[in-house]
Amino acid sequence: MDGYGFRDVARMEWIKLRSLPSVRWTLLLGMVATAALGVVAGYNTRDAAGDPTSNMLAGVVLGQVITGVLGVLAITGEFGSGMIGATFGAVPRRGLVLAAKAAVWGATFLVAGEAAVLAAFLAGTALLRSGVPHPSLASAGVARAVLMTGAYLALVGLMGLGIGAVLRHGGASIAVVIGGLFVLPLIVGAAQHGYGRLLPELIAGNSLAAVKPVPGFAWSPWLELGIVALYPAVLLTAGGWLLARRDAG
């Protein structure tokens, strides 16, 4: 009888995640899209000096939208429906709720993301043209690229959760996720400037997924992964701080 703790709250969040059929189908759609686009991009690789691994991981362009949007809805769906009152009624420590959501959704995104990129890589290599090199997971840097790209999908999902916790409105949060991923790199004109290596979407394609170094992305992929991870870390911290201070409805 010493009161609720992280385990109880995480169990609640896990039951909530599993019991919305739309979440399951959307996640599956994201995985299929990530794998399918990767296979197609791999098949279209014709340059013998290219980076087929990176190409086969190109499907994260779609996958990140799905995990980002699901991350947003993981919390804004509760504000929109009034469910948040029931959640905070059961667990008044709101930071704990957000931490449990991040753990449960983050783990789900990670498993789904890794499964999707592994499927893309394995199916993709089987369908590569004969003129291009056929990477294997044992080749230098390949397993690292595949696993980091799966992790990237989870980090974008957590960014969505953090943005949703800050804004509490689904439409606005999704606009920020999409804008941050796709529009911001265009505005920054990243390829020309040095700032591309600070933007998640560009880091994913040019560093995390790359086996062959890309100009402008000389930093270690580990450092770049850490930079990507800073985004959800800052957003979730801000979100937790704001949740605890604002009225919940």
Binding site: Y4, K16, S19, E78, G85, A86
Partner: protein, 238 residues
């Protein structure tokens, strides 16, 4: 279910912009009786309940349950069961899953979910998505969530909305039974006639201020025998 479960509101004030939704409100809700919380629409009933549940923050004063703020309860749903007006659940999730999630956060076994669904007459529809429920079924699901962990205090916001006559009678007897078992029961409503049938005591507020803290008979006496007259006089609606 001891006297320690008194709800006490002291000098409670909540402003939205420049206007006070709740204005220096003070009253107690005692265990073992049904206390009706009456007031016109927008008089501050829901805001008071939200502050009690820690969902909104007061600008001044306190709202305590058994002497402590809601946020410091160890297992909140075991102490306070609340059914607030408005959805409170997500449309895509079944009633069973909704309650299982809340049970998990409260350290309550999953079999209690089936029990409480039967208590509120929702067993048949328990597996369907809550978005497909009628208004009356939603009220029953909200009540099930409130009763789930066997709390000593019940806060019900407009629990009769959307119920048919048989449902109203059922809800009324359930509310009375909960009080008879020693629980502290606060029921908000804007229906005076219904509160006359359900409540023992009445708290009447208007524009966030307390205008009466009395019994049903006490209020009726002020209106020359008519509760409605007394209510409308007090709340400036006459």
């Amino acid at each position: 279910m001891t006297k320690g479960n008194t709800v006490s509101i002291r000098g409670l004030t909540k402003r939205y912009g420049g206007t006070a939704a709740v204005d220096d409100l003070t009253f107690d809700v005692q265990p073992g009786a049904v206390t009706g919380f009456l007031g016109p629409n927008g008089s501050g009933k829901s805001t008071t309940m939200k502050i009690l549940l820690g969902l909104a923050r007061a600008d001044a004063g306190s709202a305590l349950i058994g002497g402590v703020p809601y946020r410091s309860l160890r297992w909140p749903l075991r102490t306070v069961g609340a059914a607030l007006d408005g959805a409170g659940f997500q449309a895509g999730r079944s009633g069973t899953s909704h309650l299982r999630a809340l049970a998990a956060a409260s350290g309550i076994p999953a079999r209690r979910v089936d029990e409480v669904l039967a208590e509120v007459g929702l067993s048949q529809a328990a597996g369907q998505r809550a978005g497909s429920y009628s208004l009356g079924m939603r009220q029953r699901l909200a009540l099930a969530a409130a009763l789930l962990a066997g709390p000593a205090v019940l806060l019900l916001d407009e629990p009769l909305n959307g119920l048919d006559p048989a449902g109203v009678r059922w809800m009324r007897s359930l509310i009375k039974e909960q009080a008879a078992q020693g629980r502290t029961v606060l029921v908000s409503s804007h229906l005076i006639s219904e509160m006359a049938l359900t409540a023992d005591r009445l708290i009447v507020i208007d524009r966030g201020r307390l205008v009466a803290d009395t019994t049903v008979d006490g209020l009726a006496a002020r209106g020359g025998g008519s509760l409605e007259d007394a209510f409308l006089n007090l709340t400036g609606g006459a």
